[in-house]
Structure formats: C-alpha cells, structure tokens
Amino acid sequence: MNPPAAFISQNIERFGLLGANNVVPDEEEREPLPPCTCEFTKGNHFRFGFDGREFNRRKFPAAKYWAEYGRPSRPHDGFLAEFTRAMSEIEDLYGPVSVSNSGNGLGRTVIAAAKDLGMSIEQITVGITGYPTPPHDEAIPNRHYQITWDEFAEFAVEFCHVAGCSEPWIALEAYHGHVSDRPHIYPVTALSLLSFGRKTSFIHNNSLSDEDIVGPPNWSYIDLEPITAINRWLLACGRKGIAQILRWSPELIAAQFDAEAFRSWLRQASNPPPPSVDAAEWRAKLGSMRSVVQEAYPNLDMRSRSLATSEDPELNGKIQELQRRLRRANPGCLGWQCYPLHRFIERLGIRFDFDFGQTEDTYGYVRT
C-alpha cells in the first residue's frame, strides 16, 4: 500500500467525510427513495448520490453530492453513430418512448435520430396558458397538454419536495414525462444551456470569474444536483425514463469530447484572450456541445424556442418568484461536483495533443 493510501486507510473511519468525527448524528433525515430498478443510462454507468447512498436524495443540507461515470468498453465510433446506437438501445430496452417538445435543440435531435431509425416516438407538448407554446414536429405524433400557471406551480412545489430541486424549468421538463404514458426522454442535459448561478451546466473554466480572468485555465466537467432531480422524481414515482440522454453510454460521452468541434473549441478557449478582449466577451465565444450535434445533424434547427429562454418579463418574474418560493421550501439542494477535465478525459480514454491548463502539476495527482 502506498503511503497516502495507508494514511487514508488508517484514518478514514474516524476522519473520512462519513467518519465518526465528521458525521452529524442528530441531523434531520429525509426518507430514502425506493431502490433503483431501471436503467437511467446504459447499465447505469452514470451514477450519482449523496454521502454513502446512490440513486437517492439528499438526506440533510450538508450531505455530499457526487457523480461517477463508467469507462468505455470499446473505442467510440463518432457522435452520430453513438447517438443513433443509444436511441436504438433505448428502444430495445423500453419500447416506444416519448420526448419533451420543450423547444430545445436536443429534443429535436432525439426526434431526428428516432426518425432515422424508424422508431415509434411521441412528442409531449405542454403549454402554459397565456404564454407561447413551442412548435412541434408535424411528422410525428404530438400530445398537447394545456395547463394554467397555477397548475404548473402546484406541480413544481410537489416536484421540489420529492426530488429536492428548486429549479422551475427542471420541474416543467419533468411535467412532460409526468403526463406521458410512455418511458420518457427528457432533453435537459448539456445542450439545454440552463445556467444555475455562476455555474454553467456543462463544462466550466474555474478561472473565469464574472468579469475577469483570475488564473490559468482550469476546466471541470460540471455535475449539478438539479440535473439529476428528474431521476429522483422517477424513482419516487416508480417510473422509467431517460434524464441524461447525452450520457447514455461512456462511448457516447467519449464521442462528444473527442469530436473535432469540441477539441478545437477547447484549444482556443484554453489560450488567454488578447488584452483587448474582456472576460465576458471571451466567455461568450466559448461554444458548447451544440456544435458537435450540429455536425452530426447539419439540417437541424438548434435554436431554442423554449419557455426557459423566453425574454417575457412577466413570465420571468413569475419564474423568479416561484424559484424563491421553492428555494425557501427546500434549501441546500444546489450541490455540484467539478470533475477535473484531465481526469475525465483520461477516464474516457481520450488524449488531447494540446495544453488545456492546470492539471495535477498544481493540485496534485490521485493514484487510481
């Protein structure tokens, strides 16, 4: 056993995060969710949890949120092939599925792949009375549900209570699956471009502050607790669904990170901007995985037409008010994990032939 492992081993029972010295025995505990009996991702390679429990919900405010990914079992075949394979595997596993028509590009990508495969897929459209409804794809079945704002807010409160998530837009996404009678695909991961506070929803340079560059590039793959809220909702309801479609398999994730569009973006984004360019502008230039998807589906309209990106001041006011209400009701549910990018791509079996910033030279290695 190497010295760090020995030191850790000898002290973990007392001084580990779950060790006797560091647990808080009188914490108020929430009831656990039923055990996970379905595949949220292929073989449930993607796992999340709080403290010592996986596929569950936060027991108490200071519980540690974590997420883990499987390793690819073979070289990836590129994003298009892997995404198509993912959809095919989902059909084999679950049969006919539905997908949210919540107006974002990822939902349209799911539909495009389903069409290519000849899959049976149904759109679920949810309109909130008084606000625009996203246009649906006329070529496939669409179920439309019209609800009032108050009905939605009531659902969001219940969702918040059960899933531990105070984000109304996640609740709205969850509602699409709630009204579907099929296993549902929720297009809410990286491409949704949702932003929680100062953390972007996908990949983050920790050395970019709001208005400034404060250090050498230091990239993390971000796992936000709200992004797994739908999993917790599904567990509580005893339903099946896909809440992380872009993480379906390790090979699909590897294909995204290994795509030329992503590599090229990361290479550029890891270089300091010219002195004349401020951080806000530099950040705005940073692309996302959208370009990877756009390469695979060049004719797809990736623009968002969702309520979540609406600039309607009345709607945004209502959302903010609801969010405040949910946060008061369920504080401390905004955990995240920053997965160091150099470790993440190593796990995916990928190498980058360029410098993308701080790695273990600064913060040290982890022996695996």
Binding site: P4, I12, N21, N22, V214, Y363
Partner: protein, 182 residues
C-alpha cells in the same frame, strides 16, 4: 500541541466546529448548511465515491485557558495537496499567533507525499499569510466572492505553501486526538 504560551490546539468534532466557525461566513443562523468540504473553484481532484473513500477532514480548534478562541479545518484535495478552509480567531485574540499555530498544526498532520497546502485568502489577509510562508499561486489574482461586499472585501486569492510534515507530526502523535501515523 501548544503554540503561544497556554494555547492548546486540537481536532474537534465537525458538528461543533461548523456551529462555532459559522460567524466567519455570516452563517450563524444557517450553520446546518455549512458543508464538510468545498471544491474551491476546481481544486478538488477526487471525484465520485473517492470523495467519501479518500478525503480526510480534520476540523481544528484552538483553546486558551479552556476557552475555544480559534477554528480552522484541513482536508486533502489530492494525494499530494491539502486545503486549509476557514481561519477564524475571536477578535480579542487576533494578532497573537493563534491562526498561524492552527495552520501549522493542520499541515503537520499530513505525512509525505502530501507536500502542498492551498487556501483562499481574503484580500485583507494576504500580507498576513505571506508572513506565514504562503504565496499567491502562480498566475492567480483576486476574484470576487459571494459575500465579499457584506464583509467589505474586494476579493479572495488562491495562495499556497509547500511544506514538509515529518518532524512535528511526532509532536502530535501521542495525542488522543491525532490521526494515526503511517
């Protein structure tokens, strides 16, 4: 372990620690939300269940004549680096070497190959921590933080210090509170 005369520094239970250090983060009324560790802008190199299987957290306090007067904590962010989180000394006991003694105690807990200690320092404390041997990490500068305005601080900076812990570890090895030596 003792620093300045009459000072005793020891490891304490996290449950008490978070309540007692809460004024540092203006969280007296919400100390239950103080997490055991934080990532610190991408510092944490452990991921997934490693967070539970490999991080050691030592909440630390300083006592003077039986009264608790200072608090800090330290945990590993990799197999080579540790992070000091929170240094809080009651106002009437500041500038007496309490904070420095706590941080030295904290770093001395770690055997090789742990060799580097990080902290985020409020702007007004940077010169103090430089006197303790810390330097601003290469390429880093002040960044704003969540409650900076509330505590009248323009920002925090990442600081680091390379250390060797083998000698003074022996001094704490016979303490009932000390972690077990390798």
């Amino acid at each position: 372990m003792s620093g300045p005369s009459g000072l005793r520094i020891k490891i304490m239970a996290f449950a008490e620690w978070r309540r007692e250090i809460s004024p540092l983060w203006l969280m007296e009324g919400s100390y239950r939300f103080i997490p055991r560790t934080i990532d610190g802008y991408g510092q944490m190199q452990y991921v997934g269940t490693e967070l539970l299987q490999r991080i050691l957290l030592f909440p630390i306090c300083a006592e003077y004549e039986g009264e608790r007067i200072g608090w800090t904590s330290i945990y590993n962010i990799s197999d080579q680096a540790v992070r000091v989180r929170g240094i809080y000394v009651l106002p009437e006991f500041r500038s007496n070497g309490v904070g420095r003694s706590m941080v030295n105690f904290a770093m001395d807990l770690w055997p090789a190959p742990w060799k580097r200690c990080f902290m985020y320092a409020r702007a007004s404390n940077i010169e103090r921590y430089k006197r303790w041997g810390f330097t601003i990490s290469p390429g880093h500068k002040l960044r704003p933080f969540e409650y900076g305005e509330a505590v009248n601080e323009p920002g925090i900076a990442l600081m680091q210090k390379d250390f060797r812990g083998q000698v003074s570890r022996d001094q704490v090895a016979d303490s009932a509170d000390a972690p077990r030596a390798v």
